[in-house]
């Protein structure tokens, strides 16, 4: 089984995207959202634990 070939990323490839939604960069956006959820959970814990 071979890995699918990918075109080398062009430096300005993103510049031609026009309006791109979450399909661009999904991993970075999901990572940010997951970190945000973890922060809120931690703050909820802090609020409950010390109230």
């Amino acid at each position: 089984m071979t890995m699918p070939e990918r075109a080398p990323p062009s430096e300005n490839a993103d510049d031609s995207t026009g309006l791109s939604l979450l399909s661009t960069w999904p991993r970075v956006y999901w990572f940010v959202l997951v970190v945000f959820v973890l922060i809120v959970v931690a703050l909820c814990w802090l609020t409950r634990a010390f109230s």
Binding site: D14, G18, L19, W25, V32, I39, V40, L43, T47, F50
Partner: protein, 586 residues
């Protein structure tokens, strides 16, 4: 402040300003002057976006907010990651594709000139006032504390920022912001470490004390619309505020479109999406720890100590112990202060006793701490209220909300010389970094959206650069004038956010319509914006709801009215403008 402090303060401010000027010599064309050379990396973009948002108010006033209200203010930033993802995915690619100088150029292409000018005018109005607050905030506090002349402090700091922003344009703003952020972080981290060392109990004990006093209230799911900071105001109202601020406020748009390419700009935004909430949490936690520190150390009865010391010796106050008598019994302020200190000493002893109880796991510790908290609110709170009342009676011009003075009082009384200068430099660095970005954006909008578009469309590039410099000076002087004649009654950071919230909802609505409701044309959008803005201002004057809701109300009102008007107006009268194309499969 000692000579060493002044040397650190003046040296760091001037060094960064000079660096900005020298680094950006030779920016002669309009593109370089207003948009920068577009070679910035994601890290510089990230710091620049952060520095633009975080003004001196953030570092001077937020610890006071944490001291008084606990961590709840952090919820104001909850929507930021989501908002920045939307901007990174939807707004940013379009701004780069259209190669715009200002965000409002896009509205001109999509709707018409009148809608572009209205949005640009709303931006100039609210950002012009905001720039005044940005410089007023540190000036009022620092001039009071150090006995400097307030007008001189405002004028001196305004001139520094005007000079380097005029000289170097957008790139000078970005380059200076890097080093200003370094000064800010160095100062804040030093203050945090010293505060932790000076609290005479362990960190978990400090958190336990703060928790019992209701200061670790980071998240509230209350649906009460009068509660200012809840999860819902943060996520809904905050989302509209953040979308509008980062997506449609030229002071931010100008920062992140300066990235080397779309990837660098996006990463710069994601940097902020990740680190802004932790940063605000850290600053609020600093305020909460200041609260614990002042529970266990003598705290002034009124944190604006200069104002307190200037009270005449004959000034009297209602006796809080005998409050409610008719006529109220009065005591001299000196007696009030002495009794307050005695009450504080008793409370300190009680808290230390509670910590011992907690350590030994003795039963009844919960009841004990509850009594201490209750006494703090009723007895010590009554003393503080009596002091404020007396100050107001003696001089109504003095702001009796002393939260903005808490952090600077701690710095002056507890930090070594040199570090005091560094912290004061950090406050000024924060003020200058956001003011510079604001002036740069105000000048860009004035030149591109009004001067070049309406007044003088066919002048040379050199002429527009000169006009940009003239507008930077003009807005710098307007902001300086606003700061010189302002009197802020609210906590300063709230004042800045309230001004923003009154306009941002409508501005965001216009961008929302432009992106997503394609059949709406210029006239309907324009009228929707005017009526929506009028509605927000009327509601602000009459309803006691959290200001964050105005972002949502303004946005919803403008969109609804525009939709209704478009249904009533004939469609073929207006030409179709530029329509953004959705490309979801990239």
């Amino acid at each position: 402040m000692s000579v060493l402090d002044y040397a650190v303060l003046v040296g760091s401010i001037l060094a960064v300003a000079l660096y900005g000027i020298l680094r950006t010599r030779g920016r002669r064309n309009l593109h370089d002057y207003l948009r920068g050379q577009r070679k910035q990396s994601w890290f510089v973009i990230g710091l620049s976006v952060m520095a633009t948002q975080a003004s001196a108010i953030t570092f001077l006033s937020t610890p006071g907010q944490g001291y008084a209200g606990g961590l709840s203010f952090v919820q104001n930033y909850f929507a930021m990651p989501l908002a920045l993802i939307i901007i990174s995915a939807v707004f940013l690619p379009l701004y780069r594709k259209l190669n715009v100088y200002t965000a409002y150029e896009f509205l001109g292409a999509r709707f018409d000139t009148k809608t572009r000018l209205l949005t640009a005018a709303l931006f100039l109005l609210q950002r012009g006032m905001g720039a005044g607050i940005t410089i007023y905030a540190p000036a009022i506090v620092l001039s009071t504390v150090f006995g400097w002349s307030l007008p001189l402090t405002i004028i001196a700091s305004s001139l520094v920022v005007i000079i380097y922003t005029v000289a170097g344009g957008s790139d000078a703003v970005t380059h200076t912001q890097k080093y200003q952020m370094a000064v800010i972080f160095a100062g804040m981290i030093a203050a945090f470490v010293i505060l932790l060392q000076k609290i005479p109990c362990s960190f978990p004990d400090a958190l336990a004390i703060a928790g019992h006093f209701g200061k670790l209230n980071a998240v509230s799911f209350s649906a009460d619309p009068k509660e200012r900071y809840t999860f819902w105001t943060g996520m809904l109202g905050g989302l509209f505020l953040m979308l509008s601020y980062f997506g449609a406020d030229q002071s931010q748009v100008q920062r992140y479109i300066a990235g080397d390419n779309l990837r660098e700009s996006r990463l710069g935004l994601m940097f902020n999406a990740l680190f802004k909430i932790p940063m605000q949490f850290g600053i609020l936690l600093l305020g909460v720890l200041l609260f614990v520190f002042y529970l266990l150390h003598p705290a002034p009865i009124f944190f604006n100590q200069t104002a307190w010391r200037e009270m005449p010796p004959t000034a009297m106050s209602n006796d809080p112990v005998r409050y409610g008598e008719d006529p109220p019994r009065e005591i001299a302020l000196g007696t009030l202060e002495r009794r307050y200190k005695e009450a504080q000493n008793r409370r300190q002893g009680e808290i230390h006793a509670w910590l011992q109880l907690r350590k030994s796991g003795t039963a009844g510790e919960q009841q004990f701490i509850d009594t201490i908290v209750q006494e703090d609110a009723s007895i010590l709170g009554a003393f503080r209220a009596a002091a404020r009342e007396a100050i107001h009676k003696e001089n109504p011009a003095i702001n009796t909300d002393d939260n903005d003075y808490i952090f600077i009082d701690f710095i002056l009384d507890n930090l070594p010389h040199g570090l005091i200068g560094l912290l004061v430099a950090a406050f000024f660095a924060a003020a200058l970094s956001s003011k510079a970005a604001e002036l740069n954006a105000l000048a860009s909008t004035s030149v591109i959206d009004f001067y070049r578009a309406v007044i003088r469309p066919n002048a040379s590039d050199r002429h527009y650069v000169l006009a940009s410099k003239a507008f930077t000076i003009f807005w710098g002087l307007i902001a300086m004038g606003f700061a010189l004649f302002a009197h802020m009654s609210e906590n300063l950071i709230q004042a800045a956010n309230i001004v923003g919230s009154l306009f941002y909802g409508v501005i965001l609505a216009l961008f929302f319509i432009a992106f997503f409701i394609k059949y709406i044309r210029g006239t309907a959008a324009f009228c929707g914006a005017l009526i929506g803005e009028a509605l927000v201002l009327i509601m602000f004057a009459t309803l006691p709801i959290s200001y964050l809701w105005y972002n949502l109300i303004g946005c919803a009102a403008c969109i609804t009215i525009a939709v209704v008007l478009q249904a009533l107006l004939p469609r073929d009268v207006e030409p179709r403008g530029f329509e953004p194309v959705m490309e979801t499969n990239v």
